[in-house]
């Protein structure tokens, strides 16, 4: 599904990703854990194609395509989804309108029929129920006046509607109370299937109690320094990142 080889990327002249390798197979759930400033969010934005990041070396293959050749929207249409750590507020654009425009752009790219307003509404209601989102948020401008938790829930709603092949969720669990975490986890789990892959970028082991990963990676100094099973997350929670950070800088 996703193959990253020797990826180097910089922003503002500083190298942030340093020789990163990662392989995510179809149907797998990977967790990437690491301290602040280690480059986890940079990885997410480099994958999504945000401007301002320079890939200086390496390759990224997504579903058989050279991901780095694609524009931001082409990546989304190819089946990549980024759940934002800080979802953006968009005044004047209604959430439901935005989601339908998004879904139809992706369906069109897949060669599927666009959904009309009625069919879309049916789908949206079903997905909103899944993430227990109050329908009033659907007609409001995207993320405007949403609490932190509501914004994260909105990210998961988008993911649930778009059903991407690969979802990269950047700290979607940060700042959530336990009820919201449970709901968000349920949304993530609903995508889990042999056709869909998920990369959870997280700071906290707590999410992984609800969404049990197949592989856990420790990210430090711009690359993956160790990979293992779910027990690695528990060890990190107990002992922290200090040992890995010194290993990365060594």
């Amino acid at each position: 599904m996703l193959t990253i080889k020797n990826l180097h990327a910089s922003a503002g002249g500083a190298e942030i990703l340093k020789a990163l390798d990662l392989e995510v197979k179809s149907g797998e759930v990977h967790a990437i854990m690491g301290p602040n400033g280690s480059g986890k969010s940079t990885l997410a934005h480099v994958l999504a194609g945000r401007e301002g990041y320079d890939v200086t070396e390496g390759h990224v293959t997504f579903d058989g395509q050279n991901l780095l050749d694609l524009s931001v929207e082409e990546r989304a249409c190819a089946g990549l989804f980024l759940g934002f750590q800080y979802p953006v507020e968009i005044p004047g654009v209604a959430n439901n309108y935005f989601l339908r425009a998004s879904l139809n752009a992706i369906r069109k790219a897949r060669g599927e029929e666009e959904l009309d307003a009625m069919d879309f509404l049916g789908l949206l209601k079903k997905k909103a129920a899944l993430v227990e989102m109050d329908p009033k948020f659907l007609t409001r401008p995207v993320n405007v006046g949403f609490s932190g938790g509501e914004k994260k829930r909105n990210e998961i709603l988008q993911m649930a509607v778009l059903e991407p092949k690969l979802a990269v969720l950047d700290e979607t669990d940060s700042g959530l109370d336990i009820d919201a975490l449970r709901v968000v986890s349920k949304g993530i789990e609903s995508l889990r299937s042999p056709e869909h892959s998920i990369v959870l970028i997280t700071h906290y082991q707590r999410l992984l109690d609800y969404v049990v990963p197949d592989v856990v990676h420790v990210f430090a100094g711009g690359r993956i320094v160790q990979s293992g099973g779910k027990e690695l997350a528990i060890e990190l929670e107990k002992n922290g990142y200090a040992a890995f950070e010194s290993a990365a800088s060594a």
């Binding site: 999504a48 194609g49 945000r50 401007e51 524009s71 931001v72 929207e73 990546r75 989304a76 249409c77 989804f81 980024l82 934002f84 979802p87 953006v88 507020e89 968009i90 005044p91 004047g92 654009v93 209604a94 309108y97 935005f98 989601l99 425009a101 998004s102 879904l103 752009a105 992706i106 790219a109 401008p141 988008q158 778009l162």
Partner: protein, 444 residues
């Protein structure tokens, strides 16, 4: 400008040649016109040396020699049709080159409630209805183009809504400028009297196809005690025409006046909008949305005069500037010494789409009372790069994402307009002009 310099002013000369025509008019009107041309002779056409015209250069207008637009110009049915609002049930009247054309009024223009007048200004002049209303807004002394209108206007619309009458359909005044080889001046004049307790929704659409045509419009609006006037003005004239307009409103006790000015057309569009509170409890909303592209210039100068206590004013102007488009916003709010408990806010927000676009914005508050709540501010920005990235990361193509953000920016000015068909029509007009936005049409 000194009188010595204005003796040869072509407008003053033109005025002199029309003396015989004017002698047929009522004495009070002749005196109004004389005062106006004297004032114009004193003021002259504005130049960029005038503070209020610093950013709006009308040299192109001053250079042109205009004839007065003749009556009864032929006009194509599809041009008039283009001014109408689809699905809007309105009382429609048609003004061509400043003249009221009952011969062209759509069939909808029948059956007004008893006592309501929506008719030709020329006929109101002769039956004596206008003497107490024309030229009754005190704050017009500096408006050279308005003086020119008073000196030369032939026709327009007179609207009167009697006491406690609520018009259930809006009145839609559709102005069309015909194309002509000559440069022509049209001077539509609107006088609107909403008597106490009455309610009126007024829509004005200004369109046209010609080039080097000048429209010099004046609308005088009197809102009686506890009456309400909602006024939407859409200006979509040819991008080679000039449009100068004054909207002068006076509000009596507890009166409400809302002005929505949507300016999309004309090479130069200048609007002077002035609201004067004559008694306590008045409430005004001044909203505006303008778009300038190519070499267009759109200028709004607004004045809200709080001269009595307990009045409220809310002002929101939004501009979108593309290519070499130039926007000007100058908003003045006066809070006079006796205007305690004034509640006023004023915001101007601008979106710049190109490196060459210009916005000059100047919100101004002058407060002489001490127990008031006033806020004002202006912003200038580009499309939000984070929002653009966010939309694109959801598969929405860049051009469409840009259009969505532009529409989103404009939306809150339009949502303040209550009528759904009108709002949809205004949005469509805007989307027709915004780069790459047409595919959003009807898509909500």
């Amino acid at each position: 400008m000194s009188p010595a310099l204005t003796r040869n002013d072509p407008w003053v000369e033109r005025f002199t040649t029309l003396e015989r025509t004017r002698s047929q008019e009522p004495a009070w009107l002749q005196s109004c016109r004389q005062t106006a041309i004297d004032r114009f002779a004193e003021l002259g056409l504005p130049t960029t040396r005038h503070e209020a015209w610093k950013y709006t250069n009308v040299a192109a207008i001053a250079k042109e020699t205009f004839a007065l637009a003749p009556a009864d110009a032929p006009v194509a049915a599809e041009d008039l049709e283009s001014l109408r609002v689809p699905d809007l049930d309105a009382h429609e009247v048609v003004i061509v080159d400043g003249r009221f054309r009952s011969d062209l009024a759509p069939a909808s223009s029948t059956a007004l409630p008893d006592g309501v007048v929506v008719g030709s200004l020329a006929s109101a002049l002769t039956n004596g209805d206008l003497e107490s209303w024309l030229e009754q807004h005190p704050d017009r002394e500096d408006l050279a183009f308005a003086a020119l209108n008073t000196a030369f206007f032939q026709d327009g619309v007179f609207i009167r809504v009697p006491k406690n009458v609520v018009l259930d359909r809006p009145v839609h005044v559709q102005h069309w400028r015909t194309a002509d080889d000559r440069a022509l001046l049209a001077t539509p004049r609107l006088v609107v009297v909403a008597e106490s307790g009455s309610q009126l929704e007024l829509i004005e659409t200004y369109g046209g196809s010609g080039e080097s045509q000048l429209t010099d419009a004046v609308s005088e609006i009197f809102v009686g005690a506890n009456a309400s006037v909602q006024h939407v003005k859409l200006q979509v004239e040819s991008s080679r025409a000039w449009h100068v307009a004054a909207i002068l409103a006076r509000l009596e006790r507890d009166a409400r006046y809302a002005s929505h000015s949507i300016s999309l057309g004309a090479a130069i569009a200048r609007n002077d909008i002035r609201v004067r509170f004559e008694a306590e409890g008045g409430d005004t909303t001044l909203n505006g949305l303008f778009f300038a592209t190519g070499e267009q210039l759109v200028d709004h100068h607004t004045v809200v005069d709080h001269r009595v206590p307990h009045c409220t004013s809310r002002e929101l102007y939004k501009g979108i500037l593309d290519e070499r488009g130039h926007g000007v916003f100058d908003g003045k709010v006066w809070v006079r010494e006796q205007a305690q408990k004034t509640d006023s806010s004023q915001t101007n927000r601008n979106l710049i789409l190109s490196r060459d676009a210009i916005i000059d914005t100047k919100p101004q508050l002058e407060i002489y009372a001490d127990d008031v709540r006033c806020a004002h501010g202006a912003t200038i920005g580009q499309l939000d790069a984070d929002a653009l990235y966010y939309l694109r990361s959801r598969g929405i193509a860049e051009a469409k994402a840009r259009s969505l953000l532009m529409r989103g920016f404009a939306t809150d000015v339009l949502t303040a307009i209550a009528s759904e068909p009108l709002r949809a029509a205004l949005e469509r007009r805007l989307l027709e002009r915004l780069p790459g936005a047409l595919d959003l049409e009807g898509d909500q």
